[in-house]
Symmetry: C2
Subunit: 472 residues, 2 copies
């Protein structure tokens, strides 16, 4: 694509749209001693990548975004939409420079509709803030990525983020009824209706979810909600063999139980997290992996019955002493360890692969990943949403050479992804393709599929200005 | 679109692809005394509409369909894909004549994967046959449209069919993981992977589901399945005011209960069905409507607890004596009455509107429909999936004039659909737009949305040959 550079005249026009206070440039940041904050708009949580924005815009609403897009469409200026910047695939990185369009000021919960169990929100609302707001009126918004305390709902929509509860409740896409979207050409549309069912034309809603900000900028969302589950039970199950932990996952579902969480942590993942959190963790020497299993529902007696069934399934495996969390504090502590594995890995230099396979293929995936990493001589820390077959494979830099880190890893990563596809899976379960997985997408998708996607992109964005260079 | 007519040479080429026994024409049907069966390929269950196919093809697999599409794409011959022909919006009608492509021979359940709770099937499998097959191994495929005994899974995918269980379990689209599709240009693709989560490129799967056979022909489906719920409770609740029945629907959900069925039947709907079935139905004179409420799960004690909570909610309304179905036979009988409302209406001359609104707006929708029908002087029979806000409005011909039936009804139907949209709803919840709602789609969708859909159609089908003249 041929893009044009921003001119002083365009900057003036942008100021007229969003107000000068919401047009940030490197120069102005320099002048106001906010250079660090400005530079953050060129980063996300993907490795240590950085691309400098030419200008950062903080519009207030869909109308302003529409005007920005009309202007940038006319002048062929690249626009990279951005939520909280917690993404793990580089989706928010302005690799073509130009405009970074931050949704941080679209941060209102517009309505919680208790009659219809729905809510209308803006994309800049933090996931956990939204969860808490609906919980206050007895409602439940399940998607809960590890970054829930800081990530925006808009970013969650961009990748259809999951989290531990996805195993029972599905991912972000399963809660979206309707989206207000500003198209790359500036028109504002609603994709659907505020209904649980809809057979009225092509599903633009689900096309938008997971499109990583390449087809439009989401400016309002209507989510469906559930009654809040009043009770939960959490258990930590130590396994003496990693493969058995992975196998037990499938067995629990086959017994008719659908847990609200089913997380896999290999021993080293828990150790890294505990060290990161400064917790003294005493895992017996013979334990190789843990499953963290959560059950939830409206009736505690019922949950204890289900827990007994889970115990019965686990009797068939070589497990250590199962820890049943007794108190809210104990539950929080276990989840804190699980949630901080990612942070502990981020404290090292690492690359994260978001592998996903059918649930029962998890043992084969785990075995294959370890075999590949051993063969190529690098360390991996594996953990993830085992109930979904979604394993986060973290490749640790350790003392790998620059050559190996920057170039040599392409081959083993390719092998890992090829294994996923061979097992019926694909290369990203919830993080998206963005920038860093783009080179591997041909492993998962045929050229015909990619051409259809390119064609769709062209329908929405004929000048190719919105989040250019991502996915394909 | 400019289409070409079938020539004898093309017929010969089609015979070479699928075999002469699977190429049907009016002439051959005449010669073999199968004219009636042949004519059925020009009808579906939508009113009494008929369009003559030029040729009917019954291919065996994706390979043959691919060859057919390459040929028809090259010659610009219209192709209308067809399942069991039970659709209610005219989606399978060959309005441009040309080829009717029947999926009836793609009728195999290829694999039920108990390890992964998945199944791979062909589109010509009957819904109920599939449900029964997975139930035999303890698994559950929830979508259950009224026509489940005859409709094909492929047709269910074309419109994302729902049915009573959608209120708890979602519609067809919620069970699809991956689709094998023959594109209008003949290429064969898989849309995704066999995983519960997928953030790898645009969601072609959900774009295909609900596209009413206009973007491709589905030739294999990978469904996810659930553990089969071992128990259920069914209750029939008589209301003395229709609006209260509609209001109670929302109240049950707000109490934290998610029923597996929540069906609304106005008095006349039950009466029509009972008469159709030859059942002596004794509904007290003061009863205006019924809710049929089903609860399901793995634990019967738990269900009785939930039933008590439902009773507690219903105490707030003016209800008659609640019938709790005791036996499987009693349950079957109640469901038979509910399922046969549609057939009883079909026995009359009628038009069916598949209105859908947010759940709590159902009373307003029902009131509006009755007001509109009274004002225009026609009778409606209303029933449907109240838990989803999905009300089937059947307009009965009665003694309406030809003028009123063929032309005059456009205005009141427009008013009904405008009311749906005003209430946050849309014009089809599960039947699709097809042919008969096409003239109303502008009420639900803006021109910008329609242009995006036309653009997508053009990406998939540049010659516009696949199911032409449908949706928009």
């Amino acid at each position: 694509m041929n893009f044009n550079a921003l001119t002083p005249e365009i900057i003036v026009a942008l100021e007229a749209i969003v107000g000068p206070a919401h047009v940030l440039t490197a120069q102005r940041a320099e002048a106001t001693a906010t250079a660090d904050a400005y530079a953050d708009y060129g980063r996300d949580h993907t490795e240590d990548l950085y691309f400098a924005p030419d200008v950062v815009l903080r519009p207030a609403d869909a109308e302003e975004i529409s005007q920005i897009m009309r202007l940038c469409h006319a002048h062929r200026i690249p626009v990279t939409p951005r939520g909280a910047g917690t993404g793990l695939s580089g989706g928010a990185l302005p690799i073509e420079h130009g405009v970074v369009l931050s949704t941080e000021r679209l941060n209102k919960i517009i309505q919680i509709d208790e009659r219809n169990l729905q809510a209308t929100v803006e994309p800049g609302v933090v996931n956990e803030a939204f969860q808490n707001a609906v919980k206050e009126v007895g409602l439940f918004y399940p998607p809960d990525p590890a970054s829930k305390g800081s990530c925006f709902l808009g970013g969650n929509l961009a990748h259809s983020s999951g989290g531990p509860k996805a195993v029972k409740y599905g991912t972000t896409r399963d809660y979206v009824l309707n989206l207000q979207v500003v198209l790359p050409t500036g028109e504002i549309i609603w994709t659907a209706a505020n209904t649980l069912k809809n057979s009225t034309g092509y599903n633009l809603t689900q096309l938008m979810v997971g499109s990583e900000g390449t087809l439009g900028i989401i400016t309002k969302v209507v989510f469906r909600l559930l009654p809040y589950p009043q009770h939960n039970i959490l258990m930590l199950v130590p396994f003496r063999q990693e493969a058995q932990a992975a196998e037990a996952v499938s067995a629990v579902f086959r017994a008719g139980i659908i847990p609200s969480g089913m997380e896999f942590m290999e021993r080293i993942a828990m150790e890294w997290s505990a060290r990161y959190l400064g917790i003294a963790l005493t895992v017996p020497d013979d334990v190789r992996a843990h499953l963290l299993i959560e059950l939830d529902g409206q009736d505690l007696d019922q949950l204890y019955k289900e827990a007994e069934q889970v115990y019965a399934v686990l009797e068939g495996y070589d497990v250590g002493e199962i820890l049943l969390a007794d108190t809210a504090a104990q539950k929080d502590e276990l989840w804190r360890i699980r949630r901080n594995i990612g942070n502990s890995v981020k404290a090292a230099v690492y690359k994260e692969e978001d592998t996903v396979v059918p649930r029962a293929e998890l043992p084969a995936l785990l075995k294959g990943v370890k075999e590949i990493s051993t063969r190529y001589g690098f360390q991996t820390v594996c953990y993830g949403h085992a109930g979904d077959g979604n394993l986060h494979v973290n490749i640790i830099r350790g003392n790998l050479s620059d050559e190996m880190w920057n170039v040599g890893l392409r081959q083993p990563i390719t092998e890992i992804f090829e294994l996923c596809v061979k097992l019926g899976g694909t290369i990203s379960g919830e993080h998206g393709i963005g920038l860093v997985q783009k080179g591997y997408i041909g492993i998962a998708l045929a050229e015909t599929n990619l051409n259809l996607m390119r064609g769709i992109k062209n329908v929405f964005d004929p000048n190719g200005i919105l989040n250019p260079g991502k996915i394909f």
